[in-house]
Amino acid sequence: MRSKGDQLSYHLMLGPGLLVLLLFSVVPMFGIAMAFEHYVPSKGIFHSTWVGLDNLRYLFQIHDGKQIFYNTVFIAVMKIVSNLVVSLVFAVLLNELRLRFYKRVIQTVVYLPHFLSWIILAGILWDILSYRGLVNQILGVFHVEPIMFFASNRWFPFIVVASEVWKEFGFNTIVFLAALTGIGPALYEAAALDGAGRLRRLRHVTLPGLTPVVILLATLSLGNVLNAGFDQIFVLYNPLVFESGDIIDTYVYRSGLLDAQYGFATAVGLMKSAVGFVLILASYFLASKFANYRIF
């Protein structure tokens, strides 16, 4: 029933964007070939020796590989979940706040840590969590022995996750708040007229209204399931917490291989992308098959 004109318009609209993606994302993908090569710069990508899956195989032969893989997934998944939950709760609470000006101020403030580098935040974290830092002083009041948080394999992953949430939850909060504005006030008014209390409005109007965007963000973040945050962990960790904090990216960085063995670096990147892509695909099809819901 659609006219040819509309189809043409749609294609015309897509044209410029697709062209940019083609030129700057797709064309450079010739470099993926490096993942299967022993790349030598003077020979170039098209003339280096083909080594098949050797680069990838190397990744699975590293010492403690299982531990590193586990750390990566554990930290990344914890981050994804905590970030979504905290920012969702925060956005909902903020939505309940009546003081409009204060609402804006808070919304701005929680986005600010996003602008600071991990080096600065690490300094602050260390200060608070050090042997004689604030947290241990408070624990001391309750006669708890001081804890070396940064040397403890029990605590370290949680420090990483909590500080990530601290830095980044403002970002998702903004997305959720934008989505909340999409819920028509009429729905709230109707609910109120029905005599729905605050909690019921939350359950029947706010949360259902947010569900699509929550699912969307969750699905997209699956693409990062092997990215546990190099910049952060690199400045926070130390040899004592390698056991719980060493992730694929930090390991590969320390190996110096990123600089020297381009094929290996590309193979690692390719594997991370592929795993992320498969997970996103899977969740897309599961959602459409079992819930008859299209995420994108």
Binding site: S42, A122, A151, D246, Y251
Partner: protein, 535 residues
């Protein structure tokens, strides 16, 4: 040609006393084309460089830029070489640019790389011009003399398969010699002598922590940002290892006379045993492995003793003096081993390299530039007439070529002048500046903390290096194939184990298992490669 340059440039003519090398350049006029290290090109020659910037540098006069200043103009006058920057970057950006240049094969005619591993990558990528003959034919007598003074270690560092693949820079070795820095005023106040043995050191640190003379919030023991740094990374515990003749960074001779890693020797275990005791007693910073900024406790008076190289006046002691101008820091070559000797490892003189793009038409042009710059930096070019205040970072390519004992030499001359044994006008410009700064700041450091930094470092720090002590060079400074491929695995194993042993989280005897694991996971192979390389 060269004669013409001398005239057109200064017009004053060379002083005869200027040294034989400069006149060697001038006398090259007759045999113009025959390998003149300072020969001028007939036609202007453009050289593209990757330019390192120091964006905090404020020494350039108005109107000058990092790519057009007294240094570039002088090179143009002297050699007819025009500098063009392929790119310019400072700090981390520079190493990023170098990495991209290496990986993409998109090199400027010349640039400086600041690590051996960058050089190795460039050679393996087959991107570099073989400089063997160019150096032979065109290196100035001065530069050849500097290389010889360092037993050609610099040239060896740049040699791959018998060919010299870069023009190596050559640094003073002083940066790798760690010494003890201690609060003399605390010692005096407590009636203590500078600790000569490890036992005495333990006592002194204990007293420092107990009495906490600066009333610091959290007094700590020895800080150690890095347990055993090779060069300039500090605070470390290097001298404590060296007391037990342990040199974890070095390749040493084992009992069979073969090269072996200093890390896995029984001496290291002995040293670790002592450190473990000290840590348990709180004499080593409880949080040494975790601390994000190991300078803080030094600056705020939480510790009165640490180990670092000669230049501690530049940082962190400048800030420590600002914080507490009454503090009296002193350097000592202590503690001593059981024979009463002070030991230290020494670094390779060459950690930086001038690299030249493969296939360049005039590779000797880069050598000539380095000749001219080095002559000038050492104050041996009478034609140069440079404003000495302008930072050398503004040279188109900058990596120092200095005698291995250059720091000690400067310090020695300043000491002689201060003692009245040497007339002040015999000092070089740098030495004169240190001398003046010392007189100006010795009673009132904070009046000119910048001047104090330099004077204190040269006089107090480098002054210690004039004594006699035991310098232990490594048998090998390069990087073998397996070091790269197994580096992360072995590094992780090593850092984990050694930190845990010191902190008491693993028994001392886990060192033996560590040695076995280290060998098994690639250490044996690396050792074989090193023995092959030094054969």
């Amino acid at each position: 040609m060269a004669g013409l340059v001398a005239c057109s440039n200064g017009g004053k003519g060379a002083e005869p006393s200027a040294g034989s090398i400069a006149s060697a350049g001038a006398s090259g006029t007759a045999a113009a084309e025959a390998h003149d290290p300072f020969g001028k090109y007939e036609q202007p020659l453009e050289v593209s460089v990757g330019k390192f910037l120091n964006l905090t540098d404020k020494t350039l006069p108005a109107g000058d830029t990092p790519t057009n200043n007294q240094f570039t103009r002088y090179l143009e006058d002297k050699l007819n070489v025009k500098i063009k920057a392929a790119w310019q970057a400072g700090g981390d950006a520079y190493s990023q640019k170098v990495s991209v240049a290496i990986a993409s094969g998109d090199l400027p005619d010349a640039m400086v790389v600041y690590s051996y591993s960058d050089l190795r990558k460039l050679v393996e990528a087959n991107l570099l011009q073989d400089m063997t003959d160019t150096i032979n034919d065109y290196a100035s007598p001065l530069i050849k003399d500097i290389y010889t003074a360092g037993n050609d270690a610099a040239l060896k560092a740049a040699t791959f398969n018998g060919r010299v693949m870069a023009i190596p820079a050559s640094q003073g070795l002083a940066d790798s010699m760690y010494m003890m820095w201690i609060r003399q005023d605390w010692l005096d106040q407590l009636g203590l002598q500078p600790p000569r043995t490890v036992d005495e050191l333990e006592n002194v640190i204990g007293q420092f922590i107990k009495t906490n003379p600066d009333k610091a919030q959290n007094p700590i023991g020895l800080p150690a940002g890095n347990l055993y740094g090779m060069t300039n990374s500090f605070p470390t515990l290097n001298p404590l290892f060296a007391v037990y003749h342990s040199y974890p960074n070095n390749w040493v001779r084992d009992s069979e006379g073969k090269a072996a890693s200093g890390l896995i020797q029984p001496e290291t275990k002995e040293a670790l045993g002592k450190m473990r005791e000290m840590y348990a007693a709180g004499l080593i910073d409880k949080e040494f492995a975790l601390r994000k900024d190991p300078f803080e406790p030094i600056i705020n008076g939480s510790t009165g003793v640490f180990f670092g190289p000669w230049w501690m006046g530049f940082t962190p002691l400048n800030e420590a003096m600002n914080k507490n101008p009454q503090a009296k820091w002193k350097a000592y070559l202590l503690p001593l081993d059981k024979d009463g000797q002070f030991n230290t490892h020494v670094q390779s003189p060459a950690n930086m390299f001038y690299v030249v793009r493969k296939g360049i038409e005039h590779p000797e042009a880069i050598m000539k530039m380095v000749n001219v710059q080095t002559q000038n930096e050492l104050g041996l070019d009478p034609d140069a007439h440079m404003d000495l205040k302008v930072d050398w970072v503004n040279e188109p390519l900058r990596a120092p070529i200095a005698y291995p004992d250059s720091i000690e030499k400067d310090s020695e001359k300043v000491h002689e002048a201060l003692d009245g044994k040497l007339p002040v006008d015999k000092l070089t410009s740098v030495q004169k500046r240190v001398y003046d700064n010392y007189l100006k700041t010795k009673d009132n450091p904070t009046a000119d903390i910048g001047g104090w930094s330099e004077a204190f470092s040269y006089v107090e720090g480098a002054g210690q290096l004039l004594r006699s002590f035991n310098k232990v060079p490594s048998l090998y400074y390069g990087e073998t194939e397996t070091m790269t491929t197994k580096g992360a695995t072995l590094g992780k194993l090593q850092q984990e184990t050694i930190n845990k042993i010191i902190m008491g989280a693993a028994p001392l005897d886990s060192f033996d298992q560590f040695v076995k694991d280290w060998k098994r996971l690639g250490g044996d192979q690396i050792t074989a490669e090193v023995n092959e390389a030094i054969k």
